[in-house]
Symmetry: C2
Subunit: 401 residues, 2 copies
């Protein structure tokens, strides 16, 4: 450049996030992110599926949305309708399903359909960071409901809804991850689901059910979805193939009654989600999903056991956790004095990346000594070495364990 | 449902678009949408690419972003850097490129980085509907600059920028589709590109260059991108594989200086664009892009000739148009009395879908008698029959041709 570079700074609106740093690669021991077990990826099946579906109907890739309308590849929606009925008890058809670019786009679409600046929503106190961050960026207030070993405490939910009503606030939705909650790994029992639906009806507040992790339950059986238990249609349900097949395939879905689905569709202005990924998933899943997932679960469970053993070995009593019923993460309580926001940079310097609790909670104080550890993408050996390194950092920086 | 269905209506924010209707399939003769020629889709090449890239590195699909950071699959960015240099004269590296879910996500990201409600931007008067609609939804005022046979009139651009300056308005960008403009099909000459850059520097207004159609020029040669001609970095460049390979693969890209790219990246909160589509495209394009595109162009040019012949045959002098230098659409002027917004429903009833001019222009009055006709996805026979049907509707409804 021959003169001063063009300065974009005066043109940027207020409130943009800080500038990104250049990406420099993943850390040696990365306990963050919803990455999956590469060894469990059904690669041969996906390759065969790609070949067969493209040979059969690949020329439809020349049309936006495969000539199939705005809700996504029909064969994938039909697979989902059957799966949702068999696994989650949801009676729906392909017409009730919208395929999205990951369930994150589902979050964005539901939010765009229902929320505006100044709104309030009710969420689980410890909650997926991506959901919390989206609400804060939209200027929406998340009211956190405490969890116990059975997920969201519905007594606390009732109290919070009463309190909001007294203050004249009608929340836009109750957001819940009821089936392997992120980050606590809890599963909401049927009775609580029923009570949540009762409260939803009483207060006129819909339920936004995020079922991203529902396939990863060790026992293989799950309670019916809240969507399935609703008799009045006041539930929006989202899910994903990121955890069951592969996160880099950006394919999720929204199940919703038409009275809200029809308002959501005009907001999906992306000319369709990636069609090849939808085609390959539909072809693979129709034949092999039910065989693949139990193998995946077995591998994940083994890694969780390794992680819990490593924590016991290197942290002893200083790391408290419940053995979760499924998922790809462990929510760990360190001693009260530990500030995981301070632990983060020290661990990073030692090649270990963690999710500090406060980034996964709207109760910053309570979450300060907590940490989320994802275990799916590391090998058993890396889990052991990574936890040993993390314990070393803790000892050096914080005097414990 | 045993009781009244849950009513979402009281929860919806003001200003949502109207509810979608159920999708009922494409019309018989669909002259809308950026769909491509299915016969020109390089299906065998894509199938082979899918197999080879997945066999070699498919296990990386188990990690978000293929372990490659937030800017997208590196091999695709490297292909693009080489292509952009060879074709458009852009000197950049893979680090200057962000892969997006179609160039529409590129539009959204640039808009989110630069625009806020109340802002003004400068655009071509006749312009891509998706760009106009995005601006209107964001509450941004588009100031339209007239076009002639060589694209945006830079004398009118200079006058508009002067006028805005007098009124104390600094537009956030000049949006242009300089290389096969949508819908006019014009190509902005080098001298006008240079003058646009001079005006951009004089007024401190960056240029937002949308080069989606640049591969589809009949002659095979194109002027350098405005991005390439800038010496100060005040240009953001976007492009797509939708028109050159397949629209259902949702893969586009943004090329931008780091001082604005670094502000854009944190707004891409989708956990990456579809990785399989990026991998397949990179594998296919590195080997075959330069062989594929000339064949595609040849087929498109032949369909354009068919469309122009059909218009001459069925409309005679009542349809005026220039023979465009590339692209997949023709911008047609019907007699002054014709209101294409009224023609639309009548044509639809006869199985013909068109883009009425006012939806592709910020000059509603001037565009009223214009229509955009896309020709890539119809067969030669369908083009003939569709235009004959459209002429029949015109004659019946409007007394012309």
């Amino acid at each position: 450049m021959t003169s001063a570079p063009f300065d974009f700074a005066p043109l940027l609106p207020a409130g943009l996030p800080p500038a990104a740093a250049r990406w420099t690669g993943r850390a040696k021991y990365d306990f963050t992110g919803g990455n999956n077990d590469p060894d469990s990826l059904p690669l041969d099946g996906l390759i065969a599926a790609a070949e067969s579906v493209m040979k059969r109907e690949g020329r439809t890739l020349a049309a936006y949305g495969l000539n199939g309308g705005p809700q996504g590849y029909r064969a994938l929606r039909e697979f989902l309708a059957a799966k949702l009925e068999a696994d989650a008890g949801i009676a729906c058809t392909a017409d009730d399903i919208l395929i999205t670019s990951g369930s994150l786009q589902g979050l964005d679409l539901v939010n765009a359909t229902l929320l505006e600046r100044g709104d309030t929503v009710v969420i689980e106190e410890d909650c997926y960071q991506g959901s919390i961050n989206r609400l804060l960026r939209l200027g929406v207030t998340p009211v956190g409901i405490p969890l116990d070993r059975e997920g969201m405490r519905v007594d606390a939910l009732a109290a919070a809804l009463d309190d909001l009503r007294r203050r004249g606030v009608r929340p836009k939705y109750i957001y819940t991850i009821p089936t392997v909650q992120n980050p606590t790994g809890t599963i909401l029992p049927v009775a609580r689901r029923r009570e949540m639906l009762r409260l939803s009806a009483e207060h006129g507040v819909p339920i936004f059910e995020d079922d991203c992790y529902c396939d990863l339950i060790w026992s293989g059986s799950r309670p019916p979805a809240i969507y399935a238990m609703s008799e009045r249609g006041g539930v929006i349900h989202i899910g994903s193939f990121s955890k069951s097949i592969a996160p880099a395939l950006r394919v999720g879905y929204v199940v919703a009654p038409w009275n809200v689905m029809s308002r959501m569709l005009p907001l999906k202005t992306d000319a369709g989600s990636g069609a090849l990924e939808q085609m390959v998933l539909a072809e693979y899943c129709a034949a092999s999903f039910s065989r693949h997932v139990p193998m995946l679960r077995k591998g994940l469970r083994a890694k969780l056991v390794t992680l819990m053993e490593a924590l016991k070995e290197h942290f002893g009593d200083a790391a408290e956790f419940d053995d979760p019923k499924g998922g790809i993460f462990l929510w760990v309580k360190l001693p009260d004095g530990v500030d995981t926001l301070k632990l983060y940079p020290a661990a990073l310097a030692a090649g270990v990346v963690i999710n500090p609790g406060p980034e996964w909670s709207v109760n910053q104080a309570r979450a300060r000594s907590r940490v989320r550890l994802c275990f799916a993408s590391l090998s058993h050996e890396e889990i052991h070495h990574g936890i040993a390194a993390l314990a070393g950092v803790c000892r050096r920086e914080l005097g414990a364990p």
